[in-house]
Amino acid sequence: MQQQIVKIKNKKETRVIPGFGLSMGITVTLLSLIVLIPLASIVLTASKLSLKEFVAIVTNRQVVHSYMVSFSCALTAALINSVFGVILAWVLVRYDFPGKRIIDGMIELPFALPTAVAGIALTSLYADQGWVGSIFAKVGIKIAYTKIGIIIAMIFIGIPFIVRAIQPVLEKLDKEYEEAAAILGASRSRIFFKVILPEIFPALLTGFGLALARGIGEYGSVVFIAGNIPYQTEIAPLLIMTKLEQYKYADATAIALVLLIISFLILLFINIVQIRTSKYTNK
């Protein structure tokens, strides 16, 4: 509100705090050097391909399958994470129980643990001779080296995104709406689905988008457990890596560009959701 008043008063916004030029300059320079210019290299290299060549590379059967594997597994993992994320956030915010602080602290483990370590740990766990894998192997279900393994790895790395996105919103949630609903006679599940869930939905969507983007691009934790069988368990990032190792730079670039565009679209989507919600909540 104050800023609006100030804006109306001075149409020519004079900057009171000194140093704009320098700080803006440093910011843009570093940003360009480290992020923008290298990123432009992809577009530059990809533009050296003719459109036909580009389309041929990205519509190659193996490539398309890798997109599908990455995307479908990431989607499944993000959905599962949404469900458990809401439960976890709810439990951490609304309930008190011994060891809660430890659990709250542990949520960030997938962020703090190197992806390679997570990868070999999960593979060892879910392989047919592994602790969990052996249980399922008896029933004939293979986890490691299948899509299920990929999904589990993607769930692992996505846990913190959703929990940490929903927690602050749940904490700030005004209890008066729930109480009003209770007084009006709503059952607890009705209160949850009609009053609470809509409030946390934007945050949930943000976390979901982040987990999805992370899952699609994830390499380290997935590549060990995936088995990397072309057409079946080969994720797109691995395909890029393989092409690189074969010095097929053009192929790698084309595949990477498509993946980039998908990531940007997800990022854009998240930003739009955030902008719209901040309009409603005045944050």
Binding site: I17, I103, D104, L109, T115, I159, I183, I266
Partner: protein, 295 residues
Amino acid sequence: MKNINTDKSSPLETGSLEELSKVIEKKQNEGSKKVKIILICISLLFLFFMLVLPLLVVIINALKDGFNAYKDAIFDKYTIKALQLTGLATVSAVVINTLFGIIAAWTISKYQFKGKQLLTTLIDIPFAISPVIAGLIFILTFGNIGWAKGIVDMLDIKIVFAVPGVILATIFVTFPFVSREILPVLNAQGKDEEEAAALMGASSFKIFRKVTFPHIKWALLYGVILCSARAMGEFGAVSVLSGHLRGKTNTLPLHVEILYNEFNTTAAFSVASILVILAILILIARNIVEYKKKA
């Protein structure tokens, strides 16, 4: 007035205030205990399988061949070299990205200019990119087919498949971490205090030191911790740019991969346990800072 509720025993119908509060309490308690226990159990089970078990796997597999084998794997000269490279990359990334994060967050929050949202989104780009792609773009820039290859040759340094490439990749992937943490704090704080200080004649450095910095202390520390964690653990981007040369261009995670792929599983998990211990330390540090932030 429309009767919204369909529940026949609704307190509104029974009428007295006392009964109202009693029924609310009863409604909130009945079944609530059961739900609470079920939800807590689900959460604990989920976390046990997804988080605790992997940690246990690392520790138990690391010690499988006995403590001496564990010590050998950890103090092996390649492991030490890998540790050094990881350390170097992490420190470089933290220093540069903290400097950048502070300046960028300051610029975005204290000044009015067009394209703020665009700038913020651009800074966040490394956050959303697959690590393999992050490595790829540096190969396309500085590698043999890169357009900047000429510059690199002129300066007589090797970037791709060498240490500088590893460091560059680490800086890239952790680029937004510090700025992402400080920016919300600075935005929430507003610019009034800084403007007041400027009007009273303080130079921008003084303004930053005395007015801004105290506000962002804990968020800054938090960002640094996150940045370090990611830098230490980065695998995909570094894997693309490293030459995988043992003792020269391997970070700790890459070393783990090599050991694992040659079926030296115990050694792989032993080295991995170093990273696990670091991860736990980071989590503890993060939690301490988190509580300090809230205080």
